[in-house]
């Protein structure tokens, strides 16, 4: 371990900038966006410097730590606020700050007409700070602070246009769904503390080797719940679609660089727990597999371009979660897919934002069409992202997704074959819905609104898109050449170097199968969407109808959790009103009634007072007399 003093700037800079912009208010309107972007860029630069510094060190010394201060010191519970920058964190730091900076630049132009642009940038920086704290914390408790910070920042950003009630509700929904996951994380931390007496990653790792299987499974399950909340995995995925209420750069930020990747990070960081508990791993795999198909199916039916991409994110994160459940080798591929996905999904979202920018904020893809000619740059960058997400060689997604499919097949037995088929199927459906988005938006006939005057977006918007497109093209090859990322992450996620080299199917066969499935998906979409009705047809298959409604996840949540929850709270309120308040009111009522009766004694007649006094004295004497007898 190397002791570093620079790590704190990763968090302090964006946090300071965010606070400054919020406190200065309108005074910072003129330069706030520039300042925030520069801060984000400087964080990225520090990240790059740290990355090279890290490369110059070898072995154990690569990871750097910084103790900030003694945070909690209660009896045996000792937690320091400390930061840890190791091979895993640096990947996230670079992704978060790099893609984050590009999104900052894009937002300068995208939000230029919004009077609250400064506030938006303050929130963006807050998001970056929280996310960096999440990936840099050296204990679960520090991670938890970042975790909650991300939840807060996402709430603020999704509900940025909170003057619209639907958007404010979407922000609330995201927050509540995240809270469910947060409960999982806090429970995991508590179990870890009771079991191991510490919550630092190093301490838990040490303790995990001697812990009981039950405890590890419990921690794993709770961590998975947390990951499901943040990463929009089944069964907590319903917030993701509604989170599109935020401005498009927010969607890009949430979906590519931050937030949803937190769950993958959490599981990867906790690899020592999952590796020791096959049950927890199996749960992770199942959740990943379900979400992968779930998201892909929803993606096929959405007409809202952002919601289609959101469903796609859900599905792609499903791939990553699935990979993290596949043991030591899976973590590296999950992170690889996470990084490549960070590039192409951010590019796709920014592309979608660019299209919306040119089309008067129209999001319905059925009102697009033939935008290729008026938005050539957007079409090109979007197209590169599209090829990347499809997994067409040599684009980024090919390397990362194929590895996951391969690993799924290699995981052995029936499970392996099943997972392999699911991941292949997911790839096919991905090809279908992404081609659908592509065809509906950029090719075919014009189905524009009469008022629409589509135009190419300004330089500040297309430049980040172009940068991300470059990443979508090259990142997969770079990360995969000579197993660069796998070797880089090996000290963190795979200390024992358990690579099993036997393949169920040779990699080339898997690639061919994947490409075939993708080709089929593309072909179906191209044929099906040669003509596109402006109004979505009603006479469609049941599955399409279900997918349009997010596979009834909202209805399910409403029926199973929300309505009974409402009934429960209504019942509790009623109980509170009738029983608790009732008792209080009863006391008051008794006092009131007895007082109004006792008041009759005070009738103002001296003689009756005298009589009462006499009777009282007689009673007193009688009482004394009785006692003394």
């Amino acid at each position: 371990m190397t002791i570093s003093t620079n790590l704190v700037y990763f968090i302090a800079l964006p946090l300071f900038s965010s606070g400054l912009l919020l406190l200065l208010g309108r005074k910072a309107d003129k330069w706030g966006h520039i300042f925030a972007t520069l801060v984000s860029a400087s964080v990225f630069i520090i990240g790059v410097i740290e990355f090279f510094a890290m490369q110059s060190r070898e072995g154990e010394a690569r990871a750097a730590t910084q103790k900030l201060f003694e945070w909690i010191s209660v009896g045996s519970f000792q937690v320091d606020a400390g930061l840890l920058l190791d091979q895993l964190s640096i990947c996230f730091v670079l992704l978060i700050s790099g893609v984050g900076t590009l999104i900052h630049i894009y937002s300068i132009a995208y939000m230029s007409h919004d009077r609250d642009r400064r506030r938006f940038f303050a929130y963006l920086n807050l998001f970056i700070a929280a996310m960096l704290l999440l990936v840099l914390g050296d204990s679960y408790l520090n991670l938890y602070v970042g975790w909650e910070g991300v939840g807060l920042a996402s709430y603020l950003l999704i509900g940025f246009w909170n003057e619209k009630p639907a958007y404010a509700a979407a922000a609330k929904k995201a927050f509540v769904a995240n809270r469910v996951g947060d409960v999982g994380l806090s429970l995991a931390i508590m179990i870890a503390f009771t079991q191991f007496g510490t919550v630092t990653f190093a301490g838990v790792k040490e303790g995990a080797s001697g812990a009981s299987a039950g405890a590890l499974t419990a921690i794993g399950a709770m961590l998975l719940l947390a990951a499901a909340g943040k990463s929009a995995q089944f069964p907590l995925q319903s917030w993701l679609g509604d989170a599109m209420a935020g401005p498009t750069p927010v969607s890009a930020l949430i979906h590519a660089a931050t937030m949803v990747t937190a769950g993958v990070y959490l599981i990867t960081r906790s690899n020592f727990i999952f590796d020791a508990s096959p049950t927890a791993q199996l749960m992770v795999v199942i959740v990943g597999a379900i979400t992968l198909l779930f998201g892909a199916l929803i993606g096929t039916a959405k007409d809202d371009i952002k919601k289609a991409l959101a469903a796609s994110t859900m599905s792609q994160i499903g791939y990553m979660i699935l990979a993290t459940g596949l043991g030591p080798i899976g973590y590296a591929f999950a992170i690889m897919h996470l990084i490549t996905h960070g590039f192409f999904k951010a590019g796709l979202f920014l592309g979608a934002g660019s299209v919306m920018h040119g089309m008067n904020d129209e999001v319905n893809m059925r009102r697009y069409g033939a935008l290729r000619k008026v938005m050539p740059i957007t079409a090109a960058t979007f197209g590169l992202g599209y090829l990347a997400i499809l997994g067409v060689p040599p684009f980024a997604g090919f390397y990362s997704k194929d590895k996951i499919i391969e690993t799924a097949f290699d995981s052995g037995g029936i499970q392996g074959i099943l997972l392999g088929i699911i991941t292949l199927l997911g790839a096919g459906i991905t090809a279908f819905y992404m081609t659908r988005v592509m065809v509906l938006t950029f090719t075919g006939t014009k189905r524009w609104d009469e008022k629409a005057r589509p135009h190419e977006s300004p330089f500040l918007m297309w430049a980040p898109m172009a940068a991300l497109a470059v990443g979508s093209v090259a990142s997969g090859f770079l990360l995969n050449s000579g197993s660069a990322l796998v070797n880089w992450l090996q000290p963190v996620v795979n200390e024992n170097q358990e690579y099993h080299s036997e393949h169920l199917l040779p990699p080339i066969v898997v690639s061919i199968m994947a490409l075939t499935v993708v080709a089929i998906g593309v072909a179906i979409a191209v044929i099906k969407y040669r003509t596109v009705p402006v109004v979505a047809p009603e006479n469609v298959l049941g599955i399409t109808k279900a997918a349009r409604k997010d596979l009834y996840q909202d209805s399910f949540n409403e029926a199973i959790f929300m309505r009974p929850g409402q009934k429960l709270t209504a019942g509790l309120v009623n109980t509170d009103y009738k029983v608790v308040d009732g008792l209080v009111r009863l006391v008051g009522w008794v006092v009131q009634i007895s007082a109004s009766n006792l008041r009759n004694i005070q009738n103002g007649y001296v003689r009756s007072y005298a009589l009462i006094m006499v009777l009282g004295v007689i009673a007193l004497i009688a009482a004394v007399w009785m006692v003394t007898l």
């Binding site: 005070q602 009738n603 103002g604 007649y605 001296v606 003689r607 005298a610 009589l611 006499v614």
Partner: protein, 99 residues
């Protein structure tokens, strides 16, 4: 003569006074009944003083007389004031505190 007869007399006088206070309406009569109760108490004090063979009870009865004298002054003044303002010496008419 049995000394306890004084106590019986004192008790009877006190009871007559107490009943008079409760049943009579005329303020002057009520006032006299109170005097009667005070003097019944005095009688009891003196008797007890005699029984116990010390002077404490007799001294107390002097105090009672002084207090009674003061009370007569103040009480009569009040009764006269009420009579002047209300043209009545009935204690039941002076029941304004109820409201």
């Amino acid at each position: 003569m049995d000394i306890s007869n004084y106590i019986y007399l004192s008790a009877i006088l006190f009871t007559i006074g107490a009943i008079g206070v409760v049943v009579r309406r005329n303020a002057i009569v009520v006032f006299m009944c109170i005097e009667l109760m005070l003097n019944a108490a005095n009688l009891a004090f003196v008797t007890f003083s005699r029984i116990h063979g010390n002077l404490a009870g007799q001294v107390t009865s002097f105090f009672t007389m002084v207090v009674a004298a003061c009370e007569v002054v103040v009480g009569l003044a009040i009764i006269v004031a009420i009579y002047r303002s209300r043209r009545s010496a009935s204690v039941d008419d002076a029941s304004l505190l109820k409201r």
